[in-house]
Symmetry: C2
Subunit: 693 residues, 2 copies
C-alpha cells in the first residue's frame, strides 16, 4: 500500500471511489480510525479508503479501490464518543450501492461491514478496521511459540488498470504497466524481472488491460496475472538430516494452508551426518547425488502440499529454508567436506537468496528461495531459525536454547550478548549407539518410570495409549510389539535407575542392588536392567548408561562453556527445541544433568522452532534483516579449541553433575545422596567429532 500521508487529495488514490460522487467541498467531517486512533478532517464524499490512505491507516486493498477485492472491509461504529468529540453512526456513511450489494450477495462482504473504497464519508464517524482488513495483521501463535508473527511478507499484490497501446504514442507494454503502478500505487522506479516479460503480453490482453502484479520488496515487479488475482503463497522448508517438512502458507493471511513431511532420502547414503560427509568425500559424485535426492524430495513435498491444499504451484512465489550446515550445503549444491574436519569452514555464513528453479522447485518461474544464514561450521541455519522463533534478544533474562541432535546446538544470552556453540553429543539421544535404542517410531518405549522400592518398571510405547501397567496395554500393543527404546525412553530409564540407586552417581551399576530385583541381571563384567523380556529383550546396559553419560556430559560441557563465558551461574529459562524437546520430561532431563539447574517451571519445549523461524522469515521481511544482523553479532564458541571443554566434560560425567549444585532440582526431587569425595569416571573413549545434527 502506498504511503500517502496527510492531505486529502491523495494523488495516488485516483482510482478510489469507483462509484462516482460529487464532493461537497464546502463541508468536511472528522473521521477517527480505530484501533490506530488516527484522525483527520475530510470533505464530505471522500471514500473511507482514501481517508485511511491519507492518514497512513493500515487498511488493505489489492484492487486499488475498485470494489473488486473486498479486502478493505470496515465498520462504522455507532455511539457518542466524548473523548473524540463526535457522534458516530452507520448513517454517517453513504448508503451501500450496487457494488457492495453484489459483493454481499456473493458472500464476500461480512454482515455489518462496508467496503472502505465504496462508503463515502457523510458526517463525523468512527471507523473500525477489523484485524482481517489490516495488511500487517498478526498470526495467532501456537502455544509453544514464543513470538507473534506480524504479516509483512516480501511480496505484495496490486491490481491495476493499464492503458492499451496507442499507435500515436508508441511505448512498451511493460512501460505502460509501470506507469500505471506509479500512478495508482505510488510504486516508483520498479525493476522488473526479465522472466515476467513472456507472460506480460498475454496477461494484459487476456485481462483486457486489467492485471494483478506481485511486487517483491516494494522494488521489483516479479509476476503478473490477468484480471484480479488475490492469492500468493509461500513455503517454509525445514531440511533435517532425518526428516523434511514443508509448511505452505497464504502470504496475505499468514495461514498455514497445508503441511507435508517425509524422511530425508539421503538416509540411504548414510544414517547420520558424519557418514553423509564421508560418502561425499569418498565418492566422486557423492555430494551431487545427495543434492539431487534432497532437492527432488523437497519438490515432491511442495507439490504434495499444493495438491492437499488444492492450490496451484504457479501461485508460490517465495520459499524459506532452514537446515543444519551439512543439509544447508547439500541442498545448495555445495561441498560438505570442509564441514567434516577442522577448521569446519562454511562456504558462506550469510543468507543465500536464489531462484527456486536453481533448487529444482517447480513453482512460479520467478519464485525465490531465501535460505537462512548458517552461524558457524556446526551451528546452522536451523539454529538461525530457532533464534528467530525464540528472539532471546528481546529479553533481559538469560535464555538457554538447546536443539538436540547428533550435535547439540546451544545458544545462551539476552538482549546484550548472545553466545552460540555446538557440542558433539553423538547420536545416543536419538536412540543410536544404545543396545536397545531406536529412532522415535511406533513400537519404541518413549516414557519409563521405575518404582524405587520394587524396582519394577512401567512404560509407555509410541502409538499405544495405555501405560504398560494399565488395562488393555497388551491388546493395544498388538502385533507391533515393543521394538526398542527411543531417546526420551533411555533418558528417563537411566534417570529412574539413578533415583532408585541402581545406578550410582558415577554411572556404575551398584552390585549390591542386584540381589534386590530379578530385573538387574549380570551382563559381561557388570550388570544390565531388563525393562521387558521378549524378542527383543529391552535392556539398559552399563554401556548404555555410559553412552548417555558421554552425550549429556558433552551437552553440559558446551552449556557450561557458555555460562562461564557470560559469567553467570545458571540461565533464567531453558527452551528445548525439536521433537526431542517436545517429548522429554524436563525433570528427568535435569536429573540426568542433561540441562543445567533452573526453576523447573522455566524449562519448556519450543516445538519445531527451526521450522517456525523459517515461517517467520517467510511472512515477515524485516525478520530477515533481523536474523542476518543478529547472527553476525553472535559470539561463536568452538568447543573443539576450548581448553575448558575437556575439563567440564569430565566433571559432567557424574549424575546429575559432579561439580555443580542443582538447588532448583533438589527442591523438586529427592536426589540420592552424593557420595563423599566421589570422582566422576573419566570418559573411556574420545568422541569422534561429528557435524551437528
Amino acid at each position: 500500500m502506498p504511503a500517502l500521508r496527510g492531505g486529502v487529495a491523495a494523488a495516488g488514490a485516483g482510482a478510489v471511489g469507483g462509484e462516482r460522487h460529487i464532493v461537497n467541498a464546502a463541508r468536511d467531517a472528522l473521521v477517527v480510525f480505530s484501533p490506530s486512533g488516527k484522525r483527520g478532517r475530510f470533505p464530505l464524499g471522500t471514500p473511507v479508503l482514501q481517508a485511511a490512505r491519507a492518514l497512513g491507516v493500515d487498511l488493505e486493498s489489492i484492487c486499488g479501490g475498485r470494489g473488486r477485492c473486498a479486502r478493505c472491509q470496515v465498520e462504522a461504529v455507532e455511539g457518542e464518543f466524548a473523548r473524540e468529540g463526535i457522534v458516530s453512526g452507520a448513517d454517517h456513511l453513504s448508503p451501500p450501492g450496487e457494488t457492495e450489494r453484489a459483493c454481499r450477495e456473493r458472500g464476500r462482504l461480512r454482515d455489518g461491514l462496508r467496503l472502505g473504497c465504496q462508503a463515502l464519508i457523510e458526517g463525523d464517524v468512527r471507523i473500525d478496521v477489523p484485524a482481517s482488513s489490516q495488511v500487517h495483521q498478526q498470526v495467532v501463535r501456537k502455544d509453544y511459540e514464543a513470538r507473534v508473527i506480524e504479516i509483512d511478507p516480501v511480496l505484495s499484490l496490486h491490481f491495476v488498470v493499464v492503458s492499451p497501446p496507442d499507435l500515436h504514442e508508441p511505448s512498451g507494454d511493460l512501460q505502460r504497466l509501470l506507469a500505471a503502478l506509479d500512478t495508482e500505487w505510488g510504486l516508483r522506479d520498479l525493476e522488473s524481472d526479465p522472466l515476467l516479460l513472456p507472460t506480460l503480453q498475454s496477461a494484459l490482453r487476456d485481462g483486457d488491460w486489467q492485471v494483478t502484479v506481485a511486487v517483491r520488496d516494494g522494488s521489483r515487479l516479479v509476476a503478473v496475472w490477468p484480471g484480479l488475482h488475490e492469492r500468493v503463497l509461500g513455503a517454509a522448508v525445514d531440511v533435517g538430516s532425518t526428516t523434511l517438512a514443508v509448511e505452505l502458507c497464504d502470504l496475505a493471511s499468514g495461514e498455514v494452508v497445508a503441511t507435508a513431511g517425509a524422511m530425508n532420502p539421503q538416509i540411504r547414503f548414510g544414517e547420520d551426518l558424519m557418514s553423509r560427509v564421508s560418502y561425499a568425500m569418498l565418492n566422486p559424485d557423492g555430494a551431487a547425488r545427495m543434492t539431487a535426492a534432497v532437492r527432488s524430495a523437497i519438490d515432491d513435498l511442495l507439490q504434495r502440499a499444493l495438491r492437499d491444499a488444492g492450490q496451484s504451484a504457479a501461485d508460490v512465489l517465495e520459499v524459506t529454508l532452514v537446515g543444519n550446515p551439512v543439509m544447508h550445503h547439500l541442498v545448495l549444491g555445495l561441498d560438505p567436506a570442509p564441514l567434516g574436519s577442522a577448521p569446519f569452514a562454511l562456504a558462506t555464513d550469510r543468507a543465500v537468496d536464489l531462484p527456486a528453479t536453481r533448487l529444482g522447485m517447480g513453482l512460479h518461474p520467478a519464485a525465490r528461495v531465501w535460505v537462512l544464514p548458517c552461524i558457524a561450521g556446526h551451528v546452522g541455519a536451523d539454529t538461525a531459525g530457532v533464534l528467530l522463533a525464540e528472539s532471546p534478544w528481546a529479553r533481559s533474562e538469560y535464555s538457554l536454547l538447546i536443539d538436540v541432535g547428533t550435535n547439540a546446538e546451544i545458544v545462551l544470552g539476552n538482549r546484550d550478548r548472545l553466545l552460540a556453540a555446538s557440542s558433539p553429543t553423538g547420536p545416543a539421544f536419538e536412540g543410536a549407539q544404545v543396545s536397545s535404542g531406536q529412532r522415535a517410531a511406533p513400537g519404541a518405549i518413549e516414557r519409563v518410570r521405575i518404582d524405587p522400592q520394587t524396582l519394577e518398571p512401567r512404560y509407555r510405547v509410541i502409538g499405544v495409549a495405555p501405560w504398560s501397567d494399565e488395562e488393555g496395554f497388551e491388546e493395544a500393543l498388538g502385533a507391533t510389539g515393543v521394538t526398542g527404546l527411543c531417546g526420551s525412553g533411555i533418558i528417563e530409564a537411566v534417570a529412574c535407575l539413578f533415583l532408585a540407586g541402581v545406578v550410582r552417581p558415577d554411572g556404575r551399576f551398584d552390585p549390591d542392588m542386584a540381589a534386590r530385583s530379578p530385573r538387574i541381571v549380570p551382563q559381561g563384567r557388570t550388570f544390565a536392567y531388563r525393562i521387558r523380556s521378549g524378542a527383543p529383550d529391552i535392556r539398559v546396559t552399563q554401556e548404555d548408561v555410559r553412552a548417555i553419560q558421554l552425550a549429556k556430559a558433552a551437552l553440559f560441557a558446551g552449556v557450561q562453556l557458555l555460562l562461564d563465558r557470560l559469567g553467570i551461574e545458571r540461565p533464567d529459562r531453558i527452551r528445548l527445541a525439536g521433537a526431542f524437546g517436545s517429548v522429554i520430561d524436563v525433570t528427568y532431563a535435569m536429573i540426568l544433568g542433561l540441562i543445567p539447574d533452573c526453576p523447573l517451571d522455566r524449562v519448556s519445549a519450543a516445538g519445531n522452532a527451526a521450522g517456525t523461524g523459517a515461517r517467520i522469515a517467510l511472512l515477515n521481511r524485516s525478520a530477515r534483516a533481523e536474523i542476518e544482523q543478529r547472527t553476525r553479532m553472535i559470539e561463536k564458541i568452538e568447543t573443539a579449541v576450548e581448553a575448558d571443554f575437556q575439563r567440564h566434560f569430565v566433571e559432567a560425567m557424574a549424575l546429575p553433575h559432579g561439580a555443580r549444585e542443582f538447588p532448583n532440582l533438589a527442591r523438586a526431587v529427592a536426589l540420592p545422596a552424593r557420595p563423599v569425595g566421589s570422582v566422576a569416571a573419566a570418559p573411556r573413549r574420545r568422541r569422534r567429532r561429528a557435524p551437528r545434527d
Copy 2:
C-alpha cells in the same frame, strides 16, 4: 580499479610492492605520468603502481601489485623536462629484481618497460603509461566505424589472496573473500551471485587461497577462478532476419578474437518477417519453435567462435544482442503477434538484462545477456545499435541514418533532436518480389552499368573478380553461372536505364527506345530489358521497375516526413547501414531517389552498424546508459498514421523524385531532362504493412 586519489599512503593498495622495501620517508620525489599529466610527490621507495593509484592514473593491474599479471607495464622516460621541472631517467627507478627478470624471461615484460608494481621511485621521474597498460584503452576502429570505443566493460578481474579458515574465528569462505576484496581492491558492499557459491569452495582450495574474481558493475561478485586468471570474454550478437552474426571479444583489450555467422534458421518458417509473424499467429507453438530455432543457432555460433579462437565457454561472462523488433521478441520468447498489426505494441521498449542460460547459451553460469532497447514497434534494437555506433547526437550537423531491409529504419537528427521512423519498403531491395531477383549470394549480379549510347550492359557477379566485359569473366564464372540480380544490382540497373532514357522519369519503359536495342524486348503489354540471355534469362521488367519505385518511394516518404518534422530541406550527411549500404553505389541510389539530395561525398556506408553498436555496449558500460537514455528521448514517427506519408509516397514515385530538387546530384551526374508537367504514376496497389526488417 579502486579510485584512490590524492594522498600517498593509499590504504587500499596494501598488496602493492610485493618485494619488500624500506621507504625513505625523509625524502620524496616528483613523479609525472604521461599521457595523463597527473603528478605528485611520493616518498622514495614508493612503487610506481601505488603512486599511479594515489593519483588516479589509469594503470591496469589484475593481480593487485604482486608482479604476477604483468599488466602494469610502464616506461621511465629519459630526458630533461623543463616544463615539468624534472630530469628523468630509467635510473630514477629501482633496478629490476627477480620478479621482473622472471617475467621478462617468460616474454611477458616488453623491452624497455618495467612492472609498475615492482619498480620503486628513487628520484624525480616521468613515467609513460603505454596504451596497452591502460584499463580504459581505446580500440582502433575499422574505417567505416564512426566511433572510437573506449574499453570500460561491465566486468573487471581482481586477483586476491584470501585468509584461510580459522577455527578460532569462524567465518564463511565467501565472507573472507569479500573481506580481502575490500582490503586489497577497495570493493565494498559487493553482492554475490548465488551461483558463485558452488565453485567458490574448490577455487579457493585449488588456488591455495589465491583466486581471481570477476566483478560486474563494480558491485556484484559473479565468478571465481583458482589462482591468477587473466581472460574474460564477451560476445556481441546481431540477430538479423536473414543472417546471424557473432563477434567474440576479449573484454580487457576489446580485440575481436573470433567471428561467426550463419543463416537464421527461422527462414524455414517464413522468408520475411511478416510471414514469420503469420506463422506465429497461425500455429499454436509457432513462436516457441522459432524461438528454439534461433536460440539454438545463436549458441551454435557462440560455440563455433569459441572453438575457432581456442577459448573456453566458461570464460564468456557477457553478451549483448541486437535485432529488429520481431527478432528481439522471438529471441526473448515473447509473442511477436502484436507487432504484426496496429498499434504495433512492443512488450518492452527498454533494455532487457537476463541470465544467458535463459536464452540457452552454454557459457559461464553467471553470464548475462544485455539486449539493446527497441525504440518502437517497427524500430528495433538494431536501430539502437546503429545509433550507438553512429552517435548522431555528437554532431550539430544533421545526420540521416538509414538501415534498409523489408522495412527501412530511418533516424534523422543532431545533438538537439532525434527522430525515428520505419518505412514499409517491402523486400525489393533485398532482391525479393523482383522477377530475376535473389538474395546477395554467389552468382548474383551486384553491379550493373549500361552504356547510354549502345545500351549494352556490363556487370559484376558476386564471387567473380572480373566484370562481364573483362578478360577471363566466363572462365571465372565457371559452373555457378549467373543466377539473378541482388538488391544493389537491381537498383543500379534501373538507375542506368533511367539515365539512358530507356525508362522514363515516371518509371515506364519508353516504347520509342525499343527499336534502338535488341536488349529491349516486348513483355506483356510493355517491355523488359534483358541483361543476360540464358537459363535463367536475367531481365529487368516493367513490374520490377514498379517494385523498385514503390520501395524507394516508401523509403523516401519516410525520410521526407522526418525532414518536414525537423523543418529542414536536406540532411548534411547520410550513413547507410547494413550489407546493402556497403555494396550500393551512392550515386545510383541517389539517381533512383532512394536517398534525398546531399553532397555525394557526405554519403557513406556505416558497415554493420547494428553489430558495431552491440560491440560498443559490450565493451563500454556507460554506452548502455547512454543508449537507454537517448532512445527514450527519440521522437517516434509512426508513418502509418501520418497523413503526409501517402502524399510523399505518391510524389516520390518518379525518378529521381517528382517534387524535390537534387542540386548536389545534378552537379555530379547528367540527369535526363524532366518532362514538363510530368505526374508521377500513382501506386497501383496498397502495400501490406510488414514489421520492419
